[in-house]
């Protein structure tokens, strides 16, 4: 399809959309000044019924935990797809040679990069762990913390270089964490059914308000999400970095 056709088709679609969009725009509730019954109910119920001070985590891991299970499987599927696409054409072998571009020599890593990455990488991972562990208390949770830990791992790549990094990152371990996270989430949902409760009903003792382990089932589900997100992002980093390597001579 040519560019002109593409724009014409877009214009046509825009014209069709215009009437409903304008109709909705003039009937929007005023910003910040309309009732939020669902949100208010959760803000009231999370501290009282679930002993949890972070209402966002309460929504994610308890009240709408079933939705988060769907999101988690979306994440696992997307990561599996990306890994499958990249690894499928390249094979599973670990390559040793860095990829090169013509007229672009590989510069040695400077001491500053090495020092800063070695200093801040572990700190970042520790901060990520803190964010994961305090999911039900302060802002944070498995999703954010998992991404922070994965970025810490990427900083280690900057500091240690490819070979040192591959030495730390075990592909099999990441696979296990990724699938295991999703499995743990599903099992945490199914386990209450053995006790005759509903799927994902919070049957564990709820703990004390503002305590790290408050929320009953929530810390378990949170850990499952953190494992899956951490491993998923690390796998994507690993596969894309592997893509920059020179393929070994194949027959």
């Amino acid at each position: 399809m040519s560019a002109a056709w593409r724009k014409a088709l877009f214009g046509l679609g825009l014209l069709l959309l215009l009437a409903p969009v304008v109709g909705v725009a003039f009937h929007m509730p005023s910003f910040g000044d309309h009732p939020l019954p669902y949100g208010d109910a959760i803000n009231e119920g999370a501290p009282r019924d679930r002993h949890v001070s972070n209402a966002v985590s309460a929504v994610n891991f308890d009240y709408r935990g079933f939705d988060t299970l769907g999101e988690e499987f979306m994440l696992v599927t997307a990561v599996t797809g990306a890994v499958f696409l990249l690894r499928g054409s390249r094979g599973e072998a670990v390559t040793s040679k860095p990829g090169t571009l013509p007229n672009r020599p590989i510069a040695a890593r400077s001491d500053a990069v090495w020092l800063i990455s070695r200093l801040s990488g572990p700190f970042l991972m520790m901060f990520g762990l803190y964010v994961v562990l305090h999911a039900t208390v302060t802002p944070g949770g498995g999703f954010q913390g998992g991404v922070i830990i994965a970025s810490g791992l990427l900083l280690l790549f900057l500091g240690e270089g490819y070979r040192g990094w591959r030495h730390i990152m075990h592909s099999t371990l990441l696979d296990i964490l990724e699938g295991g996270g999703a499995l743990l989430f599903a099992l945490a949902g199914l386990a209450p059914m053995l006790l005759g409760a509903s799927y994902m009903q919070n049957v564990l003792p709820l703990g004390t308000f503002r305590d790290m382990l408050s929320g009953g089932l929530m810390p378990v589900v949170n850990a499952a999400v953190a494992f899956a997100v951490l491993a998923g992002f690390s796998m994507v980093f690993l596969e894309f970095l592997e893509e920059t390597r020179q393929p070994d001579k194949q027959g």
């Binding site: 910003f31 910040g32 979306m74 990306a82 990249l86 999703f143 994507v236």
Partner: protein, 114 residues
């Protein structure tokens, strides 16, 4: 006017994202535009859940019962940002394979598979 501004930001992000998708000549650029369009939905959701003179829906330093914004939309946005990043990675992986096979990322020069 200040009450209108957040909606306008969402609309603007959606508009430039969509325009970029339509006129894109490179799939990597197109994925970037797609994530811009996606962030319009995040701004819109956060706008819907906002309440004047309300704090965050975290009752650690202020006691439960203090006015707080809607946690439901925040949870939606939070999970979607993370999942959206992996979906973008999946799309970029497709771009890598496409470039390996066809040597181009321009949608105009690519023909449908037969």
């Amino acid at each position: 006017m200040t009450a209108l501004l957040p909606w306008l930001v969402a609309a603007w992000l959606a508009a430039i994202g969509l325009y970029g998708v339509v006129t894109s000549r490179n799939y990597v650029h197109l994925i970037g535009c797609l994530t811009v369009f996606q962030s319009a939905t995040y701004v819109l959701l956060l706008c819907v859940g906002y309440k004047w003179n309300a704090g965050p829906p975290i009752f650690y330093s202020h006691p439960p019962g203090t006015p707080a914004v809607d946690p439901v939309v925040q949870a939606l946005v939070l999970t979607d940002i993370v999942v959206g990043a992996t979906v973008a990675a999946l799309l970029l992986a497709m771009c890598v394979q496409l470039h390996k096979r066809k040597g181009t990322l321009d949608p105009e020069t690519l023909r449908p598979l037969r």
